[in-house]
């Protein structure tokens, strides 16, 4: 299944936040969306999963999601969005049971996703007992449990410290290498974009429009932190964004 945005524009009252975006998300690839703050990249992600409607344009899914997908368009949020009163296991089982997955199969799914995210020992832990990185792992496990056709990740590592971020990036690369998934990954961190993206979409500042789309051909598993090729791409991205980010930073917020 593919996702497609056609002529998407959006305004909040008088403020135009997104202008005429055409984009398609190819199957089995990770598309990173980067841009200065306030460029509407998170809004774009909410359009993709149907949590918000654009004022103009069409968001469509092309083709059927796999039949065993419980929730085809699944988010991973920046603030994890775990229910604090439910255990790791309970956070996942809530969603499975609501979709009518029988207990036995739900248990098998939970066991599998927890193993894949290295959480097997924390099945009964409450979110308050977990570190930020672990919480995001739980959120990723929960997203994997519903077998999504497209993962929509909204700055998933932005609330974490840089060491945890490195670890989780490695985990994401591992997960993708073992079984490739389709994902849209919104971030303001260019290092994450060049590590995880097959394709990096650079948005301009508000009103957000596509500035450039960069393809990165190096396989994910072979990308190292100080790869000169990636370094150059990152520099290029920064050169594209720098003036925009500066201008966005100086903008007055009046709403």
């Amino acid at each position: 299944m593919e996702l497609r945005l056609e002529g998407v524009s959006h305004r909040y009252g008088d403020v135009e936040v997104i202008r005429n975006i055409d984009l398609s998300i190819p199957k089995g690839r990770i598309v990173c969306i980067v841009g200065p703050s306030g460029c509407g990249k998170s809004t774009l992600l909410r359009f993709l999963g149907g949590l918000e409607r654009p004022t103009e344009g069409v968001v469509s899914q092309v083709g059927q999601p796999p039949s065993d997908s419980i929730n085809p368009l699944t988010y991973v949020f920046q603030d994890f969005a775990l229910l604090p009163w439910r255990t790791v296991e309970g956070n996942i089982s809530l969603i499975l049971s609501d979709h009518g997955v029988p207990t036995k199969r739900a248990n098998a799914i939970i066991e599998d996703v927890l193993a894949r995210t290295k959480l097997s020992d924390f099945r009964k832990a409450l979110p308050k007992q977990l570190s930020g990185g672990m919480k995001q792992r739980v959120a990723i496990a929960r997203a994997l449990a519903v077998n999504p056709a497209v993962l929509l990740m909204d700055e998933p590592l932005s609330a974490l410290d840089s060491q945890t971020r490195e670890l989780l990036m490695d985990d994401l690369v591992d997960l993708w290498t073992k079984s490739p998934f389709t994902a849209v990954y919104v971030t303001h961190n260019l290092a994450e974009a060049v590590r995880l993206g097959h394709q990096v979409v650079v948005l301009s500042r508000r009103p957000g429009a596509i500035n450039e789309v960069i393809e990165i051909d190096t396989p994910l598993a072979e990308r190292r932190a100080n790869d000169p090729e990636l370094e150059r791409t990152q520099q290029h991205l920064w050169a594209l964004m720098r003036a925009e980010a500066e201008a966005a930073d100086m903008e007055l917020i009046d709403d």
Partner: protein, 270 residues
Amino acid sequence: MTDSATETSDVRPVEFRGGGFRPSSPRWVGLVVFIVLIALLEWGTRAGFISSLTVPRPSDVFLTLWDLAASGALWTNLAPSLMRLLVGGSIGAVAGITVGVMIGLFSFVRAGLVPLVAAIFPIPKIALLPLFVIWFGIDEASKYALIAFGTFTPTVVATYGAVDNVDRSLIRMGQSFGLRWSTVVLRIVLPGAMPGILSGLRVSLAIAIILLVAAEMLGAEHGIGAYILQAGSLYDLERLFAGVTILSLLGVLLSTTVGLVEKHVLGWRT
């Protein structure tokens, strides 16, 4: 200025300026306050500083309580009171939580009921007792109604405030996973609002006790309120204070119960 920090002999520890503003409550302090106050009264009444007409001697009040318990009169008064509190309070709390959640969820209910609740809230419910007597009769029903009505409004206000404060990102999460509306309400909104609902319940239950006494002072044969009224009209201060003591204990008991429920239900809070 020379860089001679290591040479100078003027070495002082940095003054500590943090700390405080984090009240904790060691268990024994509350008890000590009670004991000291009672001891002071006992000493004052015995020494004659305080005349027995101003305040009865604590030991006499205690003896009165003891007699009350021994004669079985305590139970004949306490049982109907507890029953009224239980029935009236439950009706009020359940109705209040239901309406509060609806106000928190539906725009129309909110627009329609918030002004109404704001209009009802400041009415002293005791003033409505005669009305309830006409509507529900002089028997138990009017007392239940008064207590229920009195606990209803604060519960509504606390509940819809609590629902408003539920983390919206959790609700978005539920929607993004395609959860049913009922699941979002029952498994995300309600548990998320529970801390606010329970702290509202503390207030409501205290109000319920106040209204219980008020209701029993107007036409009840038995009950703590009737007992206090009787003692008061006879200027029997020992019995009056015995009754008041029972009410205080009831309040402490209810508050402790809510505390235990909170500890059990809200263990997930950091």
